[in-house]
Every structure is written in C-alpha cells, then in structure tokens.
C-alpha cells in the first residue's frame, strides 16, 4: 500500500477508486478491461509503468507457470489470466464465464511490480526489496523488526505529506502503549481495551474503527447436537453479545446478525441480532431433543482481540442454561487452524471460535469459504445456501445483491454460527499527526498529515 499499487484502490470508507487504472469496463462476461494510467514510474529503475508490467503481475499471482505458486491465488479467485490489449494502453483480465467479483477484488490485490526487474532478481531479493510505483520507497528492512521508507519524489500524484515512514514491530501490547505514551511512535495498532484509559489520560488519543473481520462460533451442522437448527438457534439466544461487547471489549465492537457485515455488498439491513433470551434458548434445546448434552468450544489464544475472554463468556452463558453443559478448550491458533482448513468437514472440532476478514467487502467472500459445502473452512452443508451462492456468482448487479441477501437471511435463520461481534481495530495516535483509520485494517501513510 505504501510502495506497491494496484489497478484500483479503496478510499477510507471502502469505495472503489482508480489507482494505476484510469477507467475500467466489462467488455463481455469473461473479459474485463482496465485502461492503464500514463506517468507512474518504478522506484528502483525509474522506468515508466507499461501494460506488460500489469499483465505480468496479475499472471504471477494466478498462473503458477509464471514463476511460482503464489500464496495469494485465492485473493484473485476467478481470474484466469491477463493480456495486453493490442493498440491500446489497456489490459484485459480474463475469467471462465462471468466473474462478478470484478472489479471488487482488485484493490490491494495483484499489485504491480516491474516485469523486467522481477525476472532479473531472485525470490529472496524481491522479498527484501520493493520496486513499486507508490508514494514511498523502501530504504531499509529488518525482518520482523523495522522497515523504513522515504517519500518518493517522482510520485504520480501529489507528494506525500510524510517525508519518512518507519514501521516498527512490537508484539507486546505494553511495549506499544509505552512507546505511544512516550511519544516514540505516532500511530499504534491494536491497543488492548484494558490500556485505553491509560492512553486517554496521556497526550495521545484513541481512534477505533470497525474492521472487515467478523468473530463467530461455528457449529458443524454434521455433528450432534449441532445437526438441529433449534439447538443452534438456542445457542444464539443463550449468548448476550451486547454484554460481551460492553464488558469485555469496552464497547469496541458491534453485534452481528448474519455472516456479512454492514456496509458490504449483499448485507441484509433488515436482519437484527438474536436477542439475549435464555428462557427461549432452554425451550429450544428441549425441542431439539438434545437436552442435557455437553458442548466444547475450541478457541484460539491471542489471535483476535480478547478471543479467550469472549470464548469464556460464551461458554459461561451457555453453561448457565439448565439443560446444556459447556466447556472451553484453549488452542494454539496454528494447530486449530491446521485442523480446520483441510476442506474436510468431518475432521477437526465441531464447535470453535474463529474470525474471518473480508477485505473485498463482498458477501460471497465470507459465504463461499466458510459456509458453502466445498468451502475450505466450512462448517455447514446446506443445499439451499449452495444454490443461492452459486446463482449469485453467475449474475451481477441488483439481482446478485438480492440473492446474497437471501443467502444471509437463510444463514441467520438456520444459525450455523453463533453470530458474535464485528471486530474493531483500536488505534492510538499521537497529537503530532492527523489521520483517520480505514475499515480494511490497513494503514495508508499517504493519508497521514502533520497535525495543524
């Protein structure tokens, strides 16, 4: 984001804006055309951006034959390749049939690198150097410790207000808070809720922002007692998500009612979060025929904002029902996720807390991986949902929106998850800078200005 740029970008509110492309249009269902900007130059070589660079950068992600298998393939899912348009300064992105995600999946993905430079250098050299067209160029890099950038004077937009940019890694939250309070840093990510008052009592301030990540407890619908929709709904009624947000997250979060977050394409604004109603929950458990069962919630430790505390509260609330016993199992994220991502619904825990980020802000990018039968991280096998999503992926515009909203309604009613909270990013900022956080958890240094 600071150094590499994509064809399109998102502004702070999530709207799509031109970046290296000036304009874009769908030519036919399998072909989407981007017109390439004149003027951007690469940091290391000073060469001007050419359509060939864009084609190479996209193919590098989607085609293993260009270089290597890219870990980012899934972010450009549906794109099968790119080619230069003869006689025009333009590039076509190809897909098998209609790819309704375009152009939504382009911002932040398929960032453009110079073809010649990338082919000349080893993979490990490219991992430590940057040759993009963005507002900042990398000047020094220490893995996991710090990266320093200087303003790029030949940038195609106005020069950045910040002349030097340092990213310093500090895993320990107390270290980050101390650095901020002492004025050693200007923007700090992930301030723990319990440190918020300490930051507020200093010169620094707290800036929360809703992220694109939803936290939920998945219930595998193939495993008893979660095979019963009544039981799953009961779990939703049993959990007081508003109290969790208020007491555990100090208000930094919002309740959810469906897999898709507010503001995303396909979100259904008419759905309300399940109310806290333990009596209704108890009755539904009775109706489900699974009274007096024990459920065990697996939770990662330290992966999401206060994940263990949220899971503890969920378990305690379920355990308070007279006819269900709940237990908690704390897991290291690595081993938990390894069990979940094998694409096989029959392996791994039946009840687990996890978070899902969706920077494309499109309902399908949550529903497909987490809830359709073939999803990598799936916990649900439901024909109606599969059909709705498949239909949505073959249409566009309002019709697609309606189908996705319907899929969300279906998910709300069938409750394959306990819908928990939308995660908030909690930033601390020093009085020296004027900066507003974004929804996609990214920090755009180009948008940072010195305070008045």
């Amino acid at each position: 984001m600071q150094s590499y740029e994509a064809l399109l970008r998102r502004d702070a509110d999530g709207n799509i804006q031109p970046e290296l492309a000036t304009d874009w249009e769908r030519i036919d269902p399998g072909r989407f055309r981007f017109y390439i900007r004149e003027g951007p130059r690469f940091h290391q070589t000073g060469n001007e951006l050419a359509p060939e660079d864009v084609v190479y950068s996209i193919n590098r992600v989607v085609k293993p034959s260009v270089g290597f298998e890219s870990p980012q393939t899934s972010q450009l899912a549906g794109v099968t390749g790119a080619e230069v348009v003869d006689g025009e300064r333009a590039v076509d992105l190809l897909s098998d049939g209609l790819n309704p995600l375009l152009p939504r999946q382009i911002p932040n993905n398929g960032q453009v690198i110079e073809k010649e430079w990338a082919q000349e250098h080893e993979k490990s050299y490219i991992a430590q150097h940057i040759n993009g067209t963005g507002p900042f160029q990398l000047t020094s890099y220490e893995q996991d410790v710090r990266a320093v950038f200087e303003r790029y004077d030949d940038y195609w937009r106005d020069e950045a207000a910040v002349s030097r940019l340092t990213f310093a890694g500090a895993q320990e939250p107390s270290v980050r808070v101390n650095q901020l309070i002492e004025g050693e840093t200007d923007i700090t990510v992930n301030i723990p809720p319990q440190s918020v008052s300490r930051v507020r009592s200093s010169e620094a301030s707290i800036t929360p922002a809703p992220s694109t990540r939803i936290i939920y407890a998945a219930m595998k619908t193939t495993v008893e007692p979660f095979t019963s929709p009544q039981f799953r709904r009961a779990m939703n009624y049993a959990v007081d998500i508003r109290s969790i947000i208020e007491n555990i997250l100090s208000g930094f979060g919002s309740a959810t009612a469906q897999p898709t977050l507010e503001g995303f394409f396909g979100h259904n604004p008419e759905l309300e979060p399940y109310p806290y109603d333990p009596e209704q929950a108890t009755q539904l458990v009775e109706e489900s025929g699974f009274a007096d069962t024990t459920v065990t919630l697996h939770t990662p430790v330290g992966r999401y904002l206060r994940d263990v505390q949220i899971a503890q509260a969920v378990v305690e609330m379920i355990d308070e029902l007279p006819n269900v016993t709940a237990e908690l199992k704390q897991r290291e994220f690595g081993s938990l996720s390894s069990e979940l991502v094998d694409g096989d619904i029959t392996t791994g825990p039946a009840f687990y807390l996890i978070g899902w980020g969706n920077p494309q802000m499109d309902a399908s990018q949550t529903l497909i991986p987490t809830l359709t039968s073939d999803g990598t991280l799936t916990s649900w096998q439901n024909d109606k949902l599969d059909t709705l999503v498949e239909q949505a992926q073959n249409t566009s515009g309002d019709e697609r929106k309606q189908l996705l909203q319907e899929a969300n309604t279906h998910a709300h009613n069938q409750a394959p998850w306990i819908f928990l909270n939308r995660q908030y990013s909690v930033y601390g900022t020093s009085p020296r800078v004027d900066w507003q956080p974004r929804r996609d958890e990214r920090i755009d240094a180009y948008a940072v200005n010195p305070a008045e």
Binding site: G169, S335, D342
Partner: protein, 334 residues
C-alpha cells in the same frame, strides 16, 4: 598437554551434541500437528495451492530425503531459506546473534561485579546487618519474575522519569548501534553512540542480570562459608597468614570453581533464552526470533537458530570446562 587433550575431547563431544540437536529438531516438526502451509497461505487457500506450495518447499519428499538434503546443505554452511519470508536463515540468525550475545554478556558482567563482592561481604560478616541486606536482596532477586521487573523498570525509568527510552535497539541515523560500533566511535571522540547504546541496553541487562546476581551472591556466600570452615583454613590461620590473603587467595579461589561452571551454563542459556526480557523491551534478539518462528511453524528457521544457539552453548561450556580444568588440575586428569 593433558589440558589440550581434554579440550580436543570436549570439542568432539560438542560436534556430537550439535548433530543430536539438528536431528532432534529436524524430527520434531513431524510430530507437530500443524503444517507450515497454514501459516504461509490465507485460510481460504485451496487444497491444491497448499499441496503445490508444500511441494515447492520440498515438504512432500520422504523424511530421509529431506533430512539428507538438509544435512548436505548444512555441511556447505547453508541453513536454507525461511519458509515464511523466503529470506536466508543464516543472514537472519547472524544479524540477531550479536544483539543477544552482548545483552547476555552485559547481564553477566553486571552479575559478576555485584554478586561476588556481595557474597564475600555477606559470608565474612555473617549475621551482621550487611549480611542481612545482601541475603534479603538475593532472595528478592531470585523470587522476582523477569517480566514484572522489566515492566516496572520501564514504567519507572522510561515512562515516569523519562531517563531511558522505553524499548528497542539503539539507532543512530537509522543504523542500529552495537557495542563495537559504539566503542570505535568513542575512540574517535564521539561518545554519542556509546550513550545511545548504554541507554537502550541497560534496563534489559539489569532485568536479565538481577536473577543472575542474586543466584551467584547466594552461591558465593554459601561457598565461602563452607571453605572458611575447612581445616586447611584453620591450619593457615594458625600459621599466622593474614586474614585478607586467607579469604581472597585461598577461600575465594576455591569457591569460584563451581560458580564458573554455573556462570557458563547460564550464559549459554541466556543467548537463546532471554525471550521474556526481549519481549518486554522489544529487543530484537535471537529469543524473539525463535519464538516467532515457532509460532509460524517456520521449522527451517527454528533449526537454524537452535544449531547456532547449541553451538554457542557448546563453545561456552567447553571454555568453562577448560577454565575449570586449569583452576583445578584434577579435572583434566580424570
């Protein structure tokens, strides 16, 4: 001659130990339930992509092929590339190593300078106020957890008093400052580097050294008391030897032998094991790199770090054993 043979024998042992470390760490990854591809790829990556990446990294080969290839590369001094970042493991490890080594050494120096006089004073003024102060200090030092002490030092000296920075390595003009650089600058008449270096390393070194100081104070005290009660001391005292010679030339020298062994063991441990102190001070040493790599299942980096730490441990211990043998010739004759 005995001493030389002793050192050679110890070094051969060391090679064997390092081979053992390499093999054990190599095999450990096959016991771990999680796969490195989970960490390289986003959660929604397809199974096909996962398999493809694993095979590019050579993770789909049979164990013996992977093992043989790894040993072969090691013999060519190549520790491979990180699975996660693609960077050279040796470049990463050797950039972090000096940071950990100088922190461990400074902590060791602080400990020795404080603890041995404290221990001696405590033993020679047994049951007097000075002894009570020294023993209370060492009890406190042993029972204070590192992370708490570190946090308190930061709060007091960095946040409230503002005399030290809160965290990180010293940097001048963007470049990190380690001791050799600071020392050279001092020789050219520029003390700024040394001041920056000291102000960053002092709090972590004190945190790391406190437990150490307390431990050695106690050892020195009890060792001295034991030596001073032995018949040879009584005999020397009867011969009219001055008390100073008796304490420092005879009793203390004999007390130091077990202390040196412990010091060596601890220093070796500190190089890779100062994880908590490094975390509290955001000090980018080997310990942090090790923990990060374990979390990421970046086994190849974990192996590289453990080989280097293991080698360091063996070297320090061989040196300690040699010193031990020199101080007590009976050791090398055994």
């Amino acid at each position: 001659m005995d001493l030389v043979r002793f050192i050679i024998k110890r070094s051969l042992h060391g090679v064997f130990v390092i081979w053992g470390v390499v093999t054990t760490v190599f095999l450990l990854r096959f016991v771990s339930p999680s796969r490195v591809t989970t960490f390289i790829l986003p959660l929604d990556a397809s199974q096909e992509t996962r398999d493809q990446i694993a095979s590019e990294l050579g993770l789909n080969d049979p164990i013996y092929v992977q093992y043989a290839e790894y040993l072969w590369d090691l013999l060519h001094l190549d520790m491979g590339q990180s699975y996660i970042s693609g960077l050279s493991v040796s470049a990463q490890v050797f950039s972090r190593l000096p940071v950990s080594v100088e922190l461990a050494i400074l902590a060791g120096i602080i400990a020795i300078v404080l603890s041995i006089p404290l221990g001696v004073i405590s033993a020679t003024r047994r049951n007097q106020p000075a002894d009570y102060v020294a023993t209370s200090f060492s009890l406190l030092g042993i029972s204070t957890p590192n992370f708490w002490l570190g946090l308190m030092l930061v709060l007091l000296f960095a946040v409230y008093l503002g005399v030290f920075p809160t965290s990180g390595l010293a940097r001048m003009g963007g470049e990190r400052v380690l001791f050799p650089r600071a020392f050279i600058q001092l020789l050219t008449g520029d003390p700024q580097y040394l001041i920056a270096w000291l102000s960053h390393i002092l709090l972590p070194a004190i945190t790391l050294g406190t437990y150490f100081t307390a431990l050695i104070t106690r050892l020195t005290r009890s060792g001295m008391l034991e030596e001073l009660g032995k018949p040879y001391i009584t005999a020397l005292r009867a011969k009219g030897l001055p008390e100073v010679l008796l304490r420092y030339q005879h009793a203390l020298t004999n007390t130091l032998i077990p202390i040196i062994t412990i010091l060596g063991l601890q220093l070796g441990l500190l190089i890779g094991g100062a994880v908590i102190t490094e975390a509290v001070f955001d000090y980018p040493g080997l310990g942090t790199l090790l923990v990060d790599s374990i979390y990421d299942r970046d086994w190849i980096t974990v192996q590289g770090i453990l080989i280097v730490v293991g080698t360091g441990f063996v070297i320090v211990n061989t040196a300690v054993d040699a010193l031990h043998a020199y101080l007590d010739p009976r050791v090398s004759k055994q």
